[in-house]
Each structure stands twice: as C-alpha cells, then as structure tokens.
C-alpha cells in the first residue's frame, strides 16, 4: 500500500546532481519523481524511479549513500482544494507531515500526492476510512 522512494545524501556543490542523474540515466533508469531539499552544505535528493531496486543497486555501486523510505501516495482529482482536503485530514488527526510533494501525469485528470508522515499506519487507516484512493508503487 506504500510507495517506495529512494533518498540520496548529496553535498551542495557543483556537479553532484549531474553525477547522480547521469549514473541512472546511462543505465536506462527512468525517474517518476525527483525532489531536492537542501541546506547550505548538503541536501537530500528524493526520487522514485520506474525500477527502484535497480536504481538502488546502481547508486550503491557508484558509492552513494542511498536509503529507502516508504511514502503514502494518494490520488485525488486534479481540481482546486483537493490537496488541502488531504492535508486537513492529517491535521485534524494531529498527524505531522514531514514532507510532501505532488505531481500530475500527462493524460490523467488526477493528481498524485506523496507524503512522509510521522505515524504512517494511523495515516493510512484514516485515509482508507475516508475513502481516499491510495497508490501503490505499481500505479506509478
């Protein structure tokens, strides 16, 4: 029911992101999502690839520090306030969202939200109860 995401530690200096994307690109790995949060000195690159297992192995072999994190993925209609409604659910239940990003795939009229929360089990249960469509890795 959860979506696997890879997290890579990256120093904040020129050429590092290229090294990562190129390492995967030349092996034919396709990104589904990618986001970067950074401070002055370092950042964490988070992404989902079409083939996460292979991406993990490739980056490991290339010397990156890679972690696997499980995210909650939900699908909502691509319309105003859809994201806010999901966030409101979490807030009402006092579930802290650590980070979140969303994207829309072409040819779809739905938007996908990926989030990492403090209490995943409780959040999943809550979302199910409210009839929100949850994503699995396959759906991506």
């Amino acid at each position: 029911m959860l979506v696997k995401q890879l997290s890579v530690f990256m120093e904040n200096r020129p050429g590092r992101l290229y090294k990562l994307t190129h390492a995967l690109g030349q092996e034919g790995i396709d990104f589904v999502t990618l986001s970067i949060a950074d401070t002055k000195d370092f950042g964490i690159v988070r992404f989902i690839a079409r083939d996460n297992e292979r991406a993990y192995e490739i980056l490991k072999a290339a010397g990156f520090t890679v972690g696997i994190t499980e995210l909650i993925g939900v699908e909502v209609n691509d319309r105003p306030n859809a994201l806010a409604e999901v966030v409101a659910l979490m807030e009402e239940a006092n579930i802290n969202i650590e980070y979140l990003y969303s994207f829309v795939l072409t040819n779809h009229n739905t938007a996908k939200i990926l989030m990492r929360v403090e209490d995943t089990d409780r959040a999943v249960k809550l979302l199910k109860e409210k009839g929100i469509r949850l994503l699995s890795e396959k759906i991506l």
């Binding site: 997290s7 890579v8 401070t39 010397g63 990156f64 972690g67």
Partner: protein, 430 residues
Amino acid sequence: MFSPEIEKIDRKALREMQLERLKHIVRYAYENVPMYKKRFDSIGLRPEHIRTLKDIEKIPYTTKDDLRENYPFGLFAVPMKKIIRLHASSGTTGKPIVGGYTRADLDNWSTCIARILTMAGATDEDIFQVSFGYGLFTGGFGLHYGIEKLGATVVPMSTGNTERQLMLMRDFGVTALIATPSYAMYLAETAKREGILQDLKVRLVCMGAEASTAEMHESLHKLFGAFPTENYGLTEVGGPGVAGECREKAGMHINEDMFYPEIVNMEKNEVLGEGEQGEMVLTTLLKEGMPILRYRTKDITSLTYEPCKCGRTLARMSRVVGRTDDMLIIRGVNVFPSQIESVLMGMDELGKMYEIIVDRVNYMDTLEVRVEVDDANLLTDYSKLEELVAKIRHKLRVVLQIDVKVKLVEPFSIQRTEGKVKRVKDLRKN
C-alpha cells in the same frame, strides 16, 4: 629593564645561580612529588647526583602524559592549602592539564610577565587591553597580574565582541594590546574597515599563545603603527612569561633565572649546542606548587647565548618553527587530532573516514571536520542530518573548548591514500 640585576647578569654568575636552584628544585621535587621520587629511584638517581648543570641530563623527561596521568593534583608539591590558584588547558583526551600556583609562584610569574612587557617597550604609563580569555586559560590572568606588577593600567577585556573591543580601545586610549597574533590582526583589519584606525593610540602589540609570522608583525606594524612583539610560554610550566622579544626582535629572551632551557635531539636523545635546532626542554627552577623537571615542550627552536644588543645577557630562543608532535594551535587553543578522532570514532552512526581542515580566514584560524555520511538511516528525515551535525559539534566543543565547523560529505569524497593516512590538512600559510 624590569629586573636589571637578572636581565644583565654576568653569565657565569647566572650559571652559578641556576646550578644552586637546580639542585634545590631537584631535591624538592624528589622529596615532595611521588612521581619524581619513584622515577629517580627506579634508575638509582639521587638528588645529590646533580652536581653540575650538565648533570641535569641524567634526569628523565617529564611529558604531557605524565601531567595527564597525575590529573588533577598528583604533581603538586605542596598541600592544597598553599595553592592559591588553579589554571588548566585542554589535554589530549578531554582531561585538562592542570597547574597549581602558590603565592610565591604567582609573584614570580608576574615578574616574568612584567619583564617581558618592559622589554617589549612598555612602561607603567601604558594602558593595556588584555584580549586573552579570562578563566582557566593561563593567558588572561597571567598577563593581567604581570601588567599590575609593572604598574601599568589593565583593561581586562577578555575575548570576543570585536566592536566593543575597538570602542574601548579608542575611548580608553589603550596604548598596548595583548592578544593572539590572529586576533590582533583581526582587530586591526576590523578597525581599518570601520574607519577608526586613526582614532586608536595603540603603540605596542604583545602577542602570545600561538606562533606568529614575520608577515603578521609587518602588517600589524603597518596597520596600527604599533611595535609588535611575540612572547612564549606554556601551561605545563606555568603559562606565558617563559620568554619574550625585546626591541631588537632578535629572538625571545628566556627568564633563565626561573626556567632552565635545553635543546634536545629526541631521536638521538642528545642535548644540542648553541644554534642547533631541536625540541625545547624546560625545567622550572623556582616553582613551588608544581615543580617540573625537564618538560618536553615538543616545540622546535634553537638557543643563542650571545649578549643581545639591548644589553640583556639572558639566552634567546628563536621563533618556534614547528612541533615534534601533531598538535595544532587553533586561535590559541591546543588541539590534537587524536581528540577529534576519539569523538568521531565514539559515534556509531558515523563512518570511519574523516578529515580535519585547518585554514585561516580573515586572520582567524578555522577548524573544519569533514565526515562521510554512509548510514542510510540518516536519510529518512532531514532533521536527522542536522541533529547529527549539532551532536558532533557539541561533542567536539566539550572536548576541545572551541567551535568546530562540521561538514557532512558524500562517501568516498575524502581522499583515500595508501599507507599512513593524512587526516589533517593545514592550509594556513607558514
């Protein structure tokens, strides 16, 4: 001269005085400090075997490890009641090196400082700003009481708050500055930037606690229009005041009536002659609280016994050119790479690769520790990385007592070398 009877002493008379004091301090240490008794007894050495100054070579060296193993008061030769001051500096494993002073020790220490300041050109008319840290560090209080003994005015400023330092220097009409060379440079640069250099009356800059370079002296002279001098000392033998430069700037005059200097080639265990470079070994000749025999300073220098143009006959040591160990001096604080290593290796979440980068930015020493992140568990949550940085910084601060920049780097970004690993990169010039 503050003590002309000593500073211009005939060298033969000085040697006689030194021998008499050496005999006394050896017996005193033997009778009052268990470590010295044990050490002498184990090699069959008796105080009465010291009959000439050369006989000092029979005495085993005292090392920083000895001070550490006898932490805190094991090397004190008097009951605690007689100790009226304690000082401490950072040690190699977190335990500091402790010094204990009797009233007479403090008086002699002040005399040493008063002499050094006088030879640098100070008089009782000067207003001194002491920009050394006040506290356990020997620098602040050491200089403070020396200045009082000289009869000059003390502004006990301590460290930090550069803007305020400059304001008071200007408003109080400070004529003499006591600081580490790097901080003196920083003050001068800041004064220039703020446009208040012309309002300052600083004519003397007396620097200690870390080595300075000829270029720094030149820059300080240019900026402040002041006369810069360097002085030398270390906590283990009492603090600053062992030696200082006079107006000739031809080496630092050693207070030889209180410290007996030797230069030793440690590989050959051979005491070297005049002009030869080696490790300085110091014996305190008058210390009551904590007499130290043949302390290995690890500082590399050389001695000359030629009378100086200034009229002093006291031996002069050249500027310290290096160390026989890997000790770093960062903003006046002694730092051993082994201290940093013990902190890092004690943290399971860290890999085994690290690097220490020392640099000088705007004349201030910087210390950066780079650690490779190879624990994927740290990546689930961004704050874990920041907490890790904060935790390393805190632990290093506890041990080193200075702020360290901690940088997390990618695996394999620290250069691997075959054989002996070079953990420290010192990018400071000279």
